[in-house]
Symmetry: C2
Subunit: 340 residues, 2 copies
């Protein structure tokens, strides 16, 4: 992959559909994402008949700043949609990417984003096979927004959904929380603190595949992004009409994340993660799943953090380090805007 | 479908992932798009194994104004991705929709858009099965941007691509050109002319299905959106390494479109269409295809407008009404920004 730095800035003509658009697509997107689907030059990508049930997921990415410790909007957009598809138990197969560019964005900056997407896509083994480019006037966008859609195939016998949590199930968390949120915050201009924390942004599909190989009967999976682990557990509790009991001392939080959150009055339970998953699993399979997860680079700190209980009010309750109990509610309002 | 007008405006909290986001999704998106996939509440939608090759296409929509004669950003977003998938010969099956909302957008305006999308999706028989909502600060977006992705299934024996045009093929156009571009222009504030023209925005998949039923061996299909018929023909010529000869007198242009274009110094050949298609078909099948197209409401004015010729410079040349010839080049720069 030849590295060049494109000159100039995004102009309205790059979104015209005419010659200037075609040049941008060739020099940037086809050049870096390089595959037969894009080279075919159609407005669609065509695949052979998939070998199973198909799953589809989409996410727009509007994170600011575009570049942060441990990632950028490009790698995040690839990981984000891969993870949403992986949370169904599926093997992600293909990605689409639609760009909304703001007039005046330096092309060199766009190129950095595209190079990063290309790398994330190649590392994950999930090609970007079709896309779109639009341009809006200065002040009508914010540099670049990227919407990715992923499709994948669910293996036979796998039946994972947010509504499948059962009383008695164990709640497994794949690692420490809050790292993406703190990394993005610390990258924002005007914020007066720095940490050594980098985003945990990562594609989780190989971790999920290893888990499913060990135990196809996982009940629910979800990646705790916006709203954090607290919101994800509340969503799952509501979907399954169950309660959740979690144990604060079992939830890993890096000292730097804890420090940054204390400084800013934020709660790590509500901070976004981009490379972690929550799994709701049969109690008698939890130990084996943990063993498998800990052998995977993205699951080394996996732990059982709680269990599913009967509760038709669908509450999430945490036993604190001091031995008390507190209700962990849905995120109200917003903790951090534009974190993904 | 109960009609309500939501109060208030989009706030940053609507993009938080927390309780406010959940309420917006329930009251607006699930309420109007209403289907089992959305009600399942997962970050993905799951389907049975498709009955053939799968095709995927994505488009971001940034049109301004949001509402125009004959449509709005919502119906356009549904038609746009359905059409891109249909241009492979596929039957569109499912849509995803990702929204980027600007803080301060009246919720009643968003509701109008969502109601329109719901209607377009239902009319087309293609449900919106998964989605995403993000919110950006005032001045970092423009009301609402919508990225739709469609997936569909290609029937056996159909093999349509931009690179399949062959010397001797006929070029078929499904109707009059330039209506979407003129309708949007005339809806823009500050423009001093009005026309009776409405956008041709429509879902073309049933027209395509009728054409394929009559003749599976269609070589190429494309909808001439941004950049118009001129750009589409140049793209197809380049992909297939052929030339195109078209006849101006065969191309339908409504008097109002012609009038508006003359007034504004624009060329209808470069104006966007959102409910037309160009088909490249074997010469000996053109008459039968025309007959089938003319029986469909969206193909009543279908006509053969030219033919594919040998030309390794891939030029598109038009015989004018006056009997001369002119080269129809790619759109250079931009004719109209944010037309889709």
């Amino acid at each position: 992959m030849k590295k060049r730095m494109l000159q100039g800035v995004v102009e309205m003509g790059h979104g015209s559909g005419g010659r200037t658009s075609a040049q941008l697509i060739e020099q940037l997107f086809i050049h870096y994402f390089d595959n037969a689907w894009l080279r075919a030059g159609n407005d669609f990508a065509l695949f052979e008949r998939p070998a199973g049930r198909v799953v589809m997921s989409t996410d727009s990415h509007v994170i600011t700043p575009l570049f942060f410790a441990g990632g950028d909007i490009g790698s995040l957009a690839v990981h984000g949609s891969i993870n949403d598809v992986a949370m169904s138990g599926a093997k992600p197969l293909y990605l689409s990417a639609a760009f909304i560019l703001e007039e005046g964005l330096p092309l060199a900056e766009l190129e950095r984003v595209v190079v990063s997407m290309a790398r994330a896509s190649r590392d994950a083994g999930v090609p970007i096979v079709t896309g779109d480019t639009k341009v809006v006037e200065r002040g009508k966008g914010d540099g670049v927004f990227i919407t990715t859609t992923a499709i994948g195939v669910v293996p036979e016998g796998v039946n994972i959904a947010g509504s499948h949590a059962q009383v008695g199930d164990k709640i497994v968390l794949s690692g420490g929380i809050g790292e993406h949120g703190v990394a993005v915050l610390s990258s924002r201009e005007g914020l007066d603190f720095r940490t050594a924390i980098t985003s945990d942004s990562a594609a989780l599909h190989t971790l999920v595949a290893a888990m499913i190989a060990a135990e196809p009967n996982i009940h629910a999976l979800r990646d705790p992004t916006r709203g954090g682990v607290a919101t994800t557990l509340n969503e799952l509790a509501k979907q399954s009409t169950v309660g959740m009991r979690i144990d604060e001392s079992a939830i890993a939080v890096k000292a730097e994340v804890k420090g940054a959150c204390e400084l800013l009055g934020l709660d790590p339970l509500y901070m976004a993660n981009e490379g972690k998953l929550v799994a709701i699993v049969p109690a008698n399979r939890a130990d084996q799943l943990l063993a498998v997860m800990r052998q995977h680079p993205l699951g080394r700190d996996a732990a059982v953090v709680g269990e599913v209980v009967e509760d038709d009010r669908c509450m999430v309750v945490m036993k604190t380090r001091l031995g008390g109990h507190r209700v962990v509610d849905w995120l109200a309002g917003e903790q951090l805007p534009r974190i993904c």
